[in-house]
């Protein structure tokens, strides 16, 4: 398995067939872990950083059969910028991890549903990503991976504060549970602010498509927990599964019904305009693609547009991003040339010449 093979297909989580997939794009859980006896990364010398990376990589590759089929490791200090960007676009590494310096890497396995970042803010950032609402499944898997890694590495742990992390905001369980939601109807009915307020009241963070510091584009929102101490992992997950997410899904469904019953023409106008733009554009930016695909996805989910699969829409979402597009075209593209290539790609996917 090589990095270049990734471009040709979509990860497991983008198949669009998970539970509640009409609203929930994906479920993600990550655990922050540090190896005992080593400084956190901000206080590591270059040599210490190198030896940490080697130690963790060795541990990851020693146990591949046990936790992640088809595991491969990417040395990010050595990888070209476009490959690092590609990994960001696929949600396998964070933006800071892509642009950082020094020895660091990522292990990817199980059809991209598992990734372990090495030497990010913490020594290890383990992630499991699944399509639709599958938090319990994700927890079961990541818990197992954590157990396997723990048999190889001694994790820093404090009887009072739990798993120790570089930033005290992650201390305790070191868990972050994030659910990616598609909420176009709440946006159109102007009720999305209420969701934000409710989330804030529940101490949850709302972010954009690429996590911390990114704007919500195309009505895709990531909701995640911020409190990591004083709550059992399963409770945090149950809260999401039974309280937080169902409530938001209900709001969105309600807004979708309102659109169908009271503003059908306006809804159809949005959906078909988006379809028109995507079929006709000769140059298009990734922001516009996101917005148009968001409306298209809503139209398909509400039965206002036939003949397009959610999977195709997800594929377009992924492949029209800069690094993917350039990999696909096999050359560096910028400005107008890139926008033109993107429009061509989309038209082809939608079956127009």
């Amino acid at each position: 398995m090589k990095l270049n093979d990734l471009t040709s297909r979509a990860g497991e989580w983008l198949r669009g067939n998970g539970p509640m997939s009409e609203v929930v794009i994906s479920s993600r859980i990550r655990l922050a872990r540090n190896v005992a006896g080593h400084n956190f990364l901000s206080r590591c010398s270059r040599a210490q950083r190198n030896s940490l990376e080697t130690k963790i990589r060795t541990a990851l590759l020693a146990e591949t059969d046990q936790f992640a089929k088809g595991l491969f490791y990417v040395d990010l200090a050595d990888a070209p910028e476009i490959d690092r960007q590609l990994l960001v676009e696929r949600h396998l590494i964070s933006k800071p991890h892509a642009t950082a310096e020094g020895a660091r890497g990522v292990a990817v396995g199980e059809e991209e549903s598992v990734s372990v970042m090495v030497n990010e803010e913490d020594h290890l950032r383990i992630q499991v990503l699944k399509s639709g609402l599958q938090l319990e499944e994700a927890w079961e898997q990541i818990n197992q991976i954590d157990d396997v890694l723990e048999s190889q590495l001694d994790f820093a742990f404090h009887p009072r504060f739990g798993y120790l992390t570089a930033c005290p905001t992650n201390v305790g369980t070191g868990i972050r549970v994030s659910v990616m939601l598609h909420l176009p109807a709440l946006k159109l009915t102007g009720e999305i602010e209420k969701v934000f307020r409710a989330a804030k009241d529940m101490k949850l963070a709302v972010r954009g498509l690429y996590g911390e510091g990114t704007e919500a584009t195309g009505d895709f929102y990531q909701i995640s927990n911020q409190t990591t101490l004083g709550k059992v992992e399963e409770d945090i997950i149950q809260d999401f599964k039974h309280v937080v997410i169902p409530k938001i899904i209900d709001y969105e469904h309600h807004a979708r019904r309102t659109l169908l019953n009271e503003r059908l023409t306006a809804l159809d106008d949005k959906v078909h305009r988006a379809y028109g733009v995507l079929r006709a554009a000769r140059m298009i930016t990734s922001e516009e693609v996101l917005l148009m695909l968001s409306h298209l996805r809503m139209g398909v989910n509400l039965g206002r547009l036939q003949g397009i699969e959610i999977r195709t829409i997800n594929e377009m979402l992924l492949m029209s991003q800069p690094a993917h597009l350039q990999k696909l075209m096999g050359k560096k593209l910028e400005g107008d040339a890139r926008r033109a290539a993107r429009a061509d790609f989309i038209r082809k996917k939608l079956g127009v010449a």
């Binding site: 400084n39 901000s42 954590d146 001694d154 009887p159 305790g172 369980t173 101490l229 004083g230 059992v232």
Partner: protein, 166 residues
């Protein structure tokens, strides 16, 4: 649906159980705030801001902690306050007193870890037992009842019983 109190559209829907009777209320946001004290409430301050405020409040005073240094990684409390990132695991011991209130604020008042504990091979450290937080379970139970999810409510009730008898 219109607000029961005025004629604005009702956006807040409440279900209360009083003496076994279900009472539904439909109000607009301003009436809900006025009558029930719901909505309009100021949102929680984001954690970053809390941390910054906390750090700022402390940086002015000539505290003796400012000079303490971690023996393992060499970071000082002042340096941590500047960057927000600790230097090594030992900092949690070195700065335990200073860190505790900060951590408590960032984690909804929590002071101790509950949840997963590493089962380290050959380790002599005694891991704290996983504690079941019954307050939390009771809150969940209340929510489950409000949401009329009785299956879950029954499960939670059993969990609370087991925890309290343990």
């Amino acid at each position: 649906m219109k607000c029961e109190n005025c004629n604005n559209p009702a956006t807040v829907h409440l279900t209360e159980i009083k003496a076994g009777k279900k009472i539904e209320k439909h109000l607009c946001e301003s009436c809900a705030a006025a009558l029930e004290g719901i909505g309009n409430a100021k949102g929680h301050t984001p954690i970053n801001e809390l941390l910054t405020n906390f750090v700022m409040a402390q940086s002015g005073g000539a505290l003796k902690e400012q000079t303490s240094t971690c023996e393992t990684c060499g970071i000082t409390w002042a340096e941590f306050r500047q960057s927000g990132v600790l230097g090594c695991a030992n900092d949690y011991r070195t700065f335990e007193k200073e860190l505790a209130p900060l951590i408590q604020r960032a984690h909804e008042g929590a002071t101790h870890h509950v949840g997963k504990v590493p089962t380290r091979r050959g380790s002599t450290t005694l891991a704290p037992k996983r504690r079941v937080d019954t307050d939390k379970l009771k809150k969940d139970l209340q929510r489950a009842i409000e949401a009329e999810d009785y299956e879950r409510a029954a499960k939670l009730r059993d969990q609370i019983r087991t925890a309290e008898n343990a």
